[in-house]
Amino acid sequence: MTYQKPSFRHPAAQVNELGYTRRDYEGSLSTLCAGCGHDSISAAIIEAVFTLPLEPHRIAKMSGIGCSSKTPAYFLGRSHGFNSVHGRMPSVTTGASLANRDLVYIGVSGDGDTASIGFGQFGHAVRRNLNMTYIVENNGCYGLTKGQDSATADVGSKNKKGAANPYEPIDLVSMAIQLGATFVGRSFSGDRQQLVPLIKAALTHRGFAFLDVVSPCVTFNNHEGSTKSYAFTRERIEATPLDFVPMREEIRTSYAAGATQEVCMHDGSVIRLHKQNDEYDIEDAQSALQAIAHHNKQGRVLTGLLYIDRDAHEMHEVLGTVRRPLNSLTEKELCPGTKVLDSINAGLR
């Protein structure tokens, strides 16, 4: 058993614009089951952050409990992190964001952590448009407790013993749009070409960016009859490929020319969507919900950037909080003196 990754890297390993190598964004060796989709998502996060690029120490990884919530140990080993209570990652992140709005928050959660025990917290983080990227590693089962059906398991999907799930699933992307999320996407751990630009776009979005990523549980939910297996997902996926073009770069697409929609982000970077047949306006929540429902009905998994609202105000803007992180405030700002106190008191008279 190997506990430590060899320290040698490819001799031609790239250095990003900030001078970091990929190794600077890696974490410790994963202890998840071999072949877990979550490890793929960790790798996609590393790739997205490395190429965007972001400085490791400007990032905070937030998580709750579950296989998914273990993964922050396996990526961004030089970033901040908080492994919180089950389902409570959104409130802890809310607090962290209020204290330091300058960090980039990446929340990693699972279908249990988000759609069951943390469902209430999830809803309120969405409602407040908390400035974070919230990734659900969705495998449709409770892998850490031996594979019981979770709240996102499709009706009729069979567990490892062959029993079909009787309940309707909670569709997290529809839920997020309905609750007012301002960036909603869905992807698949096995489609790195789509997942990486989607994460980059989510990290760039100002406000609550939600990503539901189908991530097969290789141990308990990758069999025939499961609707979250590698094979089933690949068979039913309806992917809208996209490119993420940072502001500074010239636009070069890795996809062939076709119907392309460009979405300009706040910082000037551009998301280019390569649509094939399903034309709907991703800035219209109603048509997004319809398209998602339409595909669900056909038994297909619609992936890509599903909805974006570029004009909404994020939590700090709504609350009108101080523009700087609290830890940078000095006594001068915190105790402005009698004069200011007097003027406040005068205003209350």
Partner: protein, 617 residues
């Protein structure tokens, strides 16, 4: 969307006619090439196998693995040109390769009794007689391979003992005579008829003795001379390097002047200058026509010479032996610039400065050596071609007279010991086939095994952890001690502890990553875990495009791409760039389905008499 398989995403390349063919891993040469050290070795010694045995303190086993393949582990562990080391994969992921050569010596130094494991000459001979001319590494290898098969071997040499140039040209401070005696002894003990102190002066007379086959392993015995003004007048103090080295070796020469010039930039020049330092040369200089980096000497031999206070003067072309009153006083040289034309051809252009003069009491000329076959009569049917070299088949080492074979430096000019050994093995195969009445072209296939190293879920039977240690230095005796006595061996060799640590640096490149596409679920776990970004899943393409589109571009064209098709979900192909794979086994550890496995590939060059007899059709 058909058949439950997603259509290729636009922009991906489709399978076309010129896409890379899946790799045929059943071809032994594919995985052989991955074991860079073994592939680069002329004898194809299974390097990682013996290094692992050293790490397990199984020195005797390690020695025998070597002995099977290269016949002279103790000698080569001190003197080999080590083509394996520049090839070593470790040199591509960090600064320096594994010290393969000196690990071989660790096996030889620490081994137990090996006599019982050596082959024996059969009690009954097969009635065939073979003459070997010259008792150097090539002939001794032929003897080693043929004697156990029952051939009667007559070994001729003009020296008193076996070893050839290993005895006459390699100084004793690099190769102690005891090591030579031991390893040549294992071969002579196979019932070889020794005809030492016997100079063969006529091939015709050899053939008249009705041998069934004759092998010529007489090396390249003639050192090049330098015909410049003053050569004849100052002849008393000018020596041809290899002749001078053998005179030292056979104790005909014991001293040299205080100031010595050595001409030439090869390993012989390095041996000459270091020997001169031990015979009284205090001011020894090496003067070379070429640039430092272009010198033929191995880098470590240059280092060892310079460590003994011997300066190397490059870009100096000799002009004249300067003499006064019939005695050499020095040499003058023209300083040159090295100029390359558009086609990369080199020429030496004088700088126009006045000639440089170096004082000298003696000059040693070590500028090259040639073959010489004045003893082979030209009417015997042995054809000679370009440069008066015999016409030899490059695979079978047979001459145009079917019963006469050549090998070692005598076949294709001066190379090195390990090449002579490799050629000796091949010549022995040819002689055996020839004397059994079979075609010498029917070369035996290599012996190959490929065995999984899996011991448990995440356990391997090899040490898969990759250590960060840098190359260990072989300790030397103090310079003052070494320079005082010609017979003191300079290198002390690794002790067991350093040997173990150095052995752990080996990446086990013979433990292959074997991929079975049918088991793969395309979860990317191997892609993500690979420390050196070797593994890719993508649509197939033409090789140049594919090499450029990998996670890390595969720019080392000498290294193959391992391509596997048959992935059921996406119809992509698995492409692994073998270049900097650490053979750490993490891909196989992280694979949920066992699509990757670590399998030990053992490649053994088949020796004479070991092959199954091919059926005659």
């Amino acid at each position: 969307m058909q058949g439950g398989v997603p259509a290729p995403v636009p922009g991906y390349h489709n399978d076309g006619e010129n896409t890379l063919k899946p790799t045929d891993i059943s071809d032994p040469e594919y995985f052989h090439k991955v074991v860079d050290c073994q592939y680069a070795c002329p004898s194809h010694t299974p390097v990682p196998e013996y290094i692992r045995l050293i790490a397990a303190e199984r020195y005797t086993d390690a020695y025998m693995v070597n002995w099977e393949s290269n016949v002279f582990p103790g000698i080569l562990g001190r003197t080999c040109d080590r083509p394996c080391e520049p090839a070593c994969r470790r040199g591509r992921v960090e600064k320096e390769p594994v010290a393969i050569c000196r690990l071989k010596r660790v096996a030889a130094d620490n081994k137990g009794a090996v006599e019982a494991r050596m082959p024996k000459a059969p009690k009954r001979r097969n009635g065939k007689r073979v003459a070997l001319i010259g008792a150097g590494p090539a002939s001794l290898t032929v003897a080693r391979d043929l004697a156990p098969l029952g051939y009667e071997i007559d070994l001729y040499d003009d020296q008193a003992k076996a070893g050839g140039m290993m005895r006459s040209q390699i100084p004793v401070f690099r190769l102690p005579p005891a090591v030579l005696d031991e390893e040549t002894g294992y071969i002579l003990d196979l019932g070889i008829n020794r005809h030492f102190d016997t100079r063969v002066t006529s091939m015709k007379s050899v053939l008249e003795r009705n041998y069934d086959a004759v092998f010529v392993g007489t090396g390249a015995p003639r050192g090049s001379d330098l015909d410049l003004p003053g050569r004849t007048e100052a002849a008393a103090n000018i020596f041809v390097g290899i002749d001078w080295l053998s005179s030292v070796s056979f104790e005909h020469i014991h001293t040299i002047g205080r100031r010595v010039l050595v001409l030439g930039g090869g390993n012989t020049a390095m041996d000459c200058c270091r020997t001169a330092r031990r015979l009284g040369g205090e001011d020894v200089k090496v003067v070379v026509r070429s640039e430092f980096d272009k010198m033929k000497a191995s880098p470590w031999e240059k280092e060892d010479a310079m460590a003994e206070d011997i300066p190397i003067f490059n870009n100096h072309v000799p002009l004249e032996f300067v003499h006064r009153d019939g005695r050499l006083v020095g040499m003058s040289f023209d300083k040159v610039d090295v100029v390359y034309d558009d086609k990369g051809r080199r020429s030496l252009v004088s700088t126009g400065e006045p000639p440089v003069f170096f004082e000298a009491d003696d000059v040693l000329i070590a500028i090259g050596q040639d073959n010489a076959f004045p003893w082979i009569e030209r009417e015997l049917g042995i054809e000679f071609g370009k440069w008066d070299m015999p016409v030899i088949d490059a695979v079978t080492f047979q001459s145009t007279l079917p019963k006469v074979f050549f090998g070692g430096d005598a076949a294709f000019g001066p190379k090195n010991i390990i090449t002579a050994v490799a050629q000796g093995h091949q010549a022995a195969i040819s002689i055996d086939l020839f004397l059994r009445g079979e075609s010498v072209q029917a070369r035996p296939a290599p012996g190959v095994t490929l065995v999984s190293q899996k011991m448990g879920v995440h356990e391997w039977s090899y040490d898969n952890a990759v250590v960060d240690d840098l190359r260990y230095k072989v300790p030397h005796v103090a310079k003052e001690v070494a320079l005082k006595d010609l017979k003191v061996e300079v290198e002390l060799g690794f002790d067991a502890r350093a040997g173990l640590a150095e052995a752990q640096r080996c990446l086990n490149c013979d433990v292959q990553t074997v991929f079975k596409a049918a088991k793969c679920i395309e979860c990317d776990a191997c892609v993500d875990i690979c420390p050196t970004e070797c593994i890719n899943f993508l649509m197939n393409d033409e090789e140049p495009a594919l090499r450029g589109s990998l996670r890390a571009a595969a720019t080392n064209l000498a290294q193959d791409l391992y391509v596997a098709d048959g992935l059921t979900q996406t119809r992509r192909v698995m492409v692994k760039d073998e270049n900097v794979c650490l053979h750490c086994g993490l891909c196989a550890e992280r694979c949920p389905t066992g699509a990757w496995d670590m399998q030990k590939f053992f490649y053994n060059v088949t020796k004479a008499g070991q092959a199954c007899t091919p059926s005659k059709q």
